[in-house]
């Protein structure tokens, strides 16, 4: 690939990214709801459960804060990716796909666009971190890095699934059988310790998101089950696999 060609591809990536950002700016209601939802988890769910759950060293609300951040990344990213089903239905993608830009570049532009949306939402949620006294502010950059990589993985996964789906009906199925299980099995809301039944521990350990939650919790609260390098390694590998899978499926999409 010569230099000129590479430059064109890069412009293509940026073009798609630019478009996604414009859309993001315009969909104010989506931004608001994507921020309100985690806040309800933190303040209503966290407070309610926190009133009965007794954790030795930490307040329950503080404990689930990293989990809720990861949840926001999960929901925001996967549904961003799945949104291409809708784009395709409206034929919005058709005009983009006929441009002299490779599918991979368009895919990467979409991934960047999705990650940008999600990370901006996360940044807003970080503004609330002062309400959780246990959070170590100096750990925020590390947490952001982990969440960004997780977002890359999950947007790619959403795009991969979106490339396969023919209609919006698949949304429900994916919510019920993929997104919610990933969330509930990630240790976002409960500690992974020897009080859990073995089957649950097993499932939790198979879930790549568990390592994201653990890594973020380690960064922000200094509580972790796995060493940082394991958390980081699992997420990076997860992202690499999803990027690969996503670009293959997106390239084959009709």
């Amino acid at each position: 690939m010569n230099e000129n060609r590479l430059q064109k591809e890069l412009m293509g990536v940026l073009a798609v990214w630019w478009r996604e950002f414009k859309v993001f700016q315009r969909e104010k209601s989506r931004i608001v709801s994507s921020i309100v939802q985690p806040i309800m988890w933190l303040f209503i769910f966290g407070t309610g459960i926190g009133a009965t759950v007794n954790m030795s060293s930490i307040n329950y609300q503080d404990y689930i804060y990293p989990g809720v951040l990861t949840m926001s990344v999960l929901f925001g990213s996967v549904f961003f990716g799945l949104y291409i089903v809708w784009d395709r239905k409206l034929d919005v993608l058709k005009a983009v796909l006929v441009a002299p830009v490779s599918r991979i570049s368009i895919f990467l532009g979409k991934v960047l666009g999705g990650c940008t949306d999600v990370m901006l939402q996360i940044a807003v949620l970080f503004l609330f971190s002062f309400l959780f006294p246990a959070v170590n502010v100096w750990g925020i950059p590390q947490a952001l890095l982990l969440l960004f990589i997780t977002s890359v993985a999950l947007v790619s996964m959403g795009l991969a699934l979106g490339s396969l789906l023919e209609s919006l009906e698949g949304f429900q199925v994916i919510s019920a059988f993929l997104v919610f299980p990933l969330f509930f099995l990630s240790g976002a809301l409960f500690p992974i310790d020897d009080k859990l039944p073995a089957w649950l521990t097993g499932l939790v350990k198979l879930n790549p998101l568990t390592y994201a939650v653990d890594g973020v919790r380690g960064a922000l609260l200094n509580i972790n089950v796995f060493p940082f390098y394991l958390d980081f390694g699992v997420i990076v590998i997860f992202a690499a696999i999803m990027l690969l899978l996503g670009s293959v499926l997106f390239s084959r999409m009709k």
Partner: protein, 325 residues
């Protein structure tokens, strides 16, 4: 030099042969119409030329680039307006063009100038900052055409540019197409069901049916090949032999009190003809249209509702006069 060249271009979907061995050669600067009924293979042909659909066999090149070997080069040389609208309705008109400019690698210095040029060409400058979901059907079409031309393609494909629009809007869209082709010096390949409109706009037309090109010529030549005007006279006892002997008469049929005469220049000879026939109840003249050519070649009408083209006597005359000018 031919800008588009196809050789035995073919596309099958399983047992359906959408396009069968199309041979075309389209010159630079031409407005070329691909006419045919639903399912004839128009969209599939365009799809192959724009490298969206891979041909099953045969080959084609655009501006010298092979569509299979050099898809990326071909894509940068063509603009396309799809049959179904593909605007990004959450973006404004300007932003739609900007997205396109970015995708086609137009640098930011050039982008602004080119976008305002195109907006001006389709008269959408004052609506540029409105979301395209607030545009009317005709405005959307115009914006899509502007988008298709933005990167100065060698060939612009318009798949049914006027489908679903009201007659006035359709007429305006055709005006824009002519204007764009002239100003941008682009070759235009369009498909349509509206034979009359194609007749007025296209330099040449190809009639496609069941995936095959069955006629290819300038509209005037195709109509000429019909053998002349048709005069239909309701009468009881026409002097058939005398009519047949007239030099300008080519063919005469008489059935059930309806006399059909195929003749040259009906507008010149009609009065002389009527003078010979006693008891004329009513007369109708049909000047051949592209639709008639189509019916003759395929044995069926291009559309089920053929209201537009099977005009009444008055319509035919009015249309005839218009063209005479």
């Amino acid at each position: 030099m031919a800008i588009i060249e196809t050789r035995k271009l073919t596309k099958s979907y399983g047992s359906i042969q959408a396009v069968r061995g199309v041979d075309l050669s389209i010159e630079k600067g031409e407005i070329f119409g691909l006419l045919g009924p639903n399912g004839a293979g128009k969209t599939t042909t365009i799809g192959m030329l724009c490298t969206i659909i891979r041909p099953t066999s045969g080959s084609a090149s655009i501006a010298g680039y092979d569509i299979v070997q050099r898809p990326s080069a071909v894509r940068s040389k063509v603009g396309i307006v799809f049959q179904d609208p593909t605007l990004d309705t959450i973006l404004t008109g300007y932003e739609n063009l900007e997205l396109h400019a970015r995708l086609y690698g137009i640098t930011s210095a050039l982008r602004k100038k080119r976008i305002s040029e195109m907006l001006q060409l389709v008269d959408l400058t004052d609506r540029r900052n409105d979301l395209t979901r607030t545009y009317s059907g005709g405005m959307r079409r115009r914006l899509e055409m502007a988008r298709g031309l933005l990167h100065r393609p060698a060939a612009l494909f318009l798949d049914e540019p006027t489908l679903g629009l009201d007659p006035q809007t359709r007429a305006r869209i055709w005006d824009y197409i002519r204007k764009m082709a002239r100003k941008e010096q682009t070759t235009v390949i369009l498909t349509t069901h509206y034979m009359e409109e194609a007749d007025q706009v296209c330099d040449r037309v190809g009639i496609i049916d069941h995936g095959q090109i069955i006629a290819l010529n300038a509209p005037g030549n195709l109509k000429e090949s019909m053998g002349g005007d048709l005069v239909i006279i309701r009468t009881k006892e026409p002097p058939l032999v005398k009519i047949k002997a007239l030099p300008y008469v080519r063919e005469v049929k008489f059935n059930d009190g309806v006399l059909e005469i195929t003749m040259k220049d009906a507008h010149l000879h009609l009065s002389g003809l009527l003078f010979m026939i006693p008891g004329v109840e009513c007369v109708e003249i049909r000047v051949p249209t592209l639709s008639d050519v189509f019916i003759k070649l395929t044995g069926h009408d291009i559309r089920d509702d053929s209201a537009e083209d099977s005009g009444s006597w008055i319509d035919s005359v009015a249309r005839y006069r218009q063209k005479g000018k």
